[in-house]
Symmetry: C2
Subunit: 410 residues, 2 copies
């Protein structure tokens, strides 16, 4: 099924956000971070790109999100996205809003474009004002830093405590023309609560309008970024933005286009790849946990149960300890607040059946332990009630997670 | 305010569930547990006691809960509560139900009372059948083990991985007559997901009917047992039962009685004491965290925000690390799904103000760190919107929590 859907998606090895036609990117060190790592980056499009975005649902939204929203409202087009790491510009009041606005103005001036073609995003510590002298000097240097080969430098600029860069590029042929979709992301707000959180950037050269792009992004977010959790915390700065240059020469993409489904599948592939990469790189994580719930009364119900399981500290520690502790999984199913028939639940860990019609099944503990030492753990729950299905991703809970978060600010 | 409410409550040092008139208790080792610790216990009343209970909301309710509910339905009276630890009798199907029913029948026979005067509860591993030969032999020995000084033996019989016994006894004078309320509890289902979880037993010699007792228990549960969390998991076996012998010679207690409020306050004191003791003894915990939210639009909203904060792994690890990381607290406030004015939030850790009207306040980091090394940490959030208020309790998240739960079953 998944293979079928994705059969027209080709991974572009070594691709980055600059692979889709019309995009450049780059990063530099402006001095927000004490280390020499890049802390300022940008994606630039040679034309105003059709743009879409999704934002955190946290009530305390950081200043740059407000500014980016304003830019989008002006016409749903973005030509430049700038991003800084090391400081989230969140809980910073009017001064923070003024600073985000100054960043936008400086970028617009640097490239000679209207301010509403610029989006701004920040990631890092909450509650501190940006060192604006350094930031503005850095922005003035961005036009030189942003190039056709600047994808990796951009990827570095968005990282905070992430261990690995998260990027992907795929190709899908539309009207016989190769169309690219690329993405870059940094660790989730649920992983890095005090850092700026989950950021995602998707570029594509597809010929697609902002409204259709927004629809794709919102739908893909629901089955990717919104289905990962590390510790259940949602940041003040989460944002995913998608930009479409329209430079691939195919007929405009809409739901009427015969290859809409193929493009949507490729877009979803990019979003899910980035989401899984974020979960796998969760603080202290040693394993990716993939949870699928089938047979729920609705997709909504399945999603809620998936999230309860991947969010459970007890399931997460059991996976860390390679313990096939299905009792913790069934307890999650029962407390998720969704309709469940207490007599019809099946649970499978990898291909090991541990519960059938809600009754324990004898299984080979050694085989289970060996499986739970792999780097990706699949948990499947079937409620045997309806057609609702969902999949989500998380990671194990380890000593290292406690160490990182007990010592984070100090 | 709290002092005012509790001024008529006197702590009875050395009291136990057998202190209220008419109650005896005891415990013995029947062999469910491999160690020599007591694993079977009972509370006995010399008369059929007015009884009330609250049960887990988990869909997968263990067999003994069903049997106890049946006994209560027959007339809201209990004369004996029996409990085993080491095996939860959960997810055990028809055989599990038959076993719980056999336990009730055996106890009724041992004491010569109707079956519906007996309640049954179990705590321990999920998904395994009880060793009924040992359990039934143990029950036959209970009448001898149950005595006026058997409180401590009972307390031991209900423990699983708990480090300390949790018990309290208070006295309140009603109509000039001393009335006692005592309680015993074991670790919460949210702490011990695979164990039988949070169990609470409250005895009192008050002259009170089951309906009034149920009202008191339900209300007290909402501000005590339902306001603690360790890792957010709710067990299949949670249950709190209250028994009133009626042997204290005062006028019957009802809401019309002039001292109803005094009795209710004493009852709530017992429930909150046990709840806090459970949170403090959370797996691996080194500190009790008490979170109060004031100024919410409703008590409901305040409760939801309190639970989000005490359930946050990031807040819990920050407290473990003695880090005054208010950014994690504000992020919880913003994601709790409740009405919040993003410009009016105050946060205080101990007596250290860290956020005022949603803006960071400079504070003495060393003083904050010193405070965060105490054994009880108070976090206060004021939304400055309305009259809604709530308090809840949790504990820090430590290396030891990970160790215990990664290694639990193996």
């Amino acid at each position: 099924m998944e293979m079928e859907e994705h059969k027209q998606v080709h991974i572009v090895e070594g691709g980055s956000v600059t692979t889709p036609k019309g995009f450049r990117a780059g990063g530099l060190h402006c001095g927000i971070k004490k280390t020499a790592r890049n802390d300022l980056g940008a994606i630039l499009c040679e034309v105003p790109a059709e743009a879409a975005a999704v934002f955190t649902t946290n009530i305390f939204q950081a200043a740059p999100l407000k500014i980016t929203r304003e830019s989008l409202t002006a016409g749903n087009r973005l030509q430049a996205m700038i991003v800084n790491s090391g400081n989230a510009n969140a809980c910073t009041g009017q001064q923070g809003e003024d600073d985000a606005r100054s960043m936008r103005a400086a970028a617009a001036q640097a490239w000679g474009m209207p301010e509403h073609y610029v989006g701004v995003t920040s990631t890092g510590v909450i509650g501190e004002l940006l060192p604006m002298d350094k930031v503005l000097a850095g922005i003035a240097g961005l036009p030189e830093a942003v190039t056709a080969v600047g994808g990796p430098a951009f990827n570095e600029a968005i990282l905070t405590t992430d261990l690995v860069e998260k990027t992907i590029c795929v190709r899908v042929d539309i009207d016989g023309v190769p169309v690219h979709i690329a993405g870059a992301a940094k660790g989730s707000g649920m992983i890095h609560p005090n850092m700026a959180t989950m950021l995602g950037f998707i570029t594509t050269d597809a010929n697609i309008r902002a409204a259709e792009l927004q629809k794709l992004l919102s739908e893909a977010t629901d089955t990717s970024f919104n289905m990962i959790t590390v510790d259940g915390d949602t940041s003040t700065n989460d944002m995913v933005v998608a930009m479409a240059s329209g430079l691939a020469e195919h007929e405009p993409l809409s739901e009427q286009h015969p290859q809409w489904a193929a493009y949507a599948a490729a877009f979803q592939h990019v979003a899910q790849h980035l989401a899984k990469a974020i979960a796998r790189d969760g603080e202290g994580a040693t394993k990716l946990i993939e949870v699928t719930v089938n047979g729920a009364v609705s997709h909504e119900a399945a999603r809620a149960i998936v999230k309860t399981i991947i969010g459970s500290s007890l399931v997460k520690t059991a996976v860390f300890g390679a313990d096939a502790n299905w009792g913790r999984i069934i307890a999650c199913v029962g407390r998720a607040g969704q309709p469940v028939n207490p007599d019809t639940v099946d649970i499978q860990i990898g291909d090991i059946r541990t519960l059938e019609k809600s009754r324990p099944v004898r299984f080979d503990e050694e085989k289970a332990e060996a499986y739970l030492k792999s780097d990706t753990i699949q948990i499947r729950v079937d409620l045997n009630m309806g057609e609702g299905t969902a999949t989500g991703w998380g990671c194990d809970l380890t000593y290292e997670y406690v160490r990182i978060n007990a010592a984070y600010r100090t």
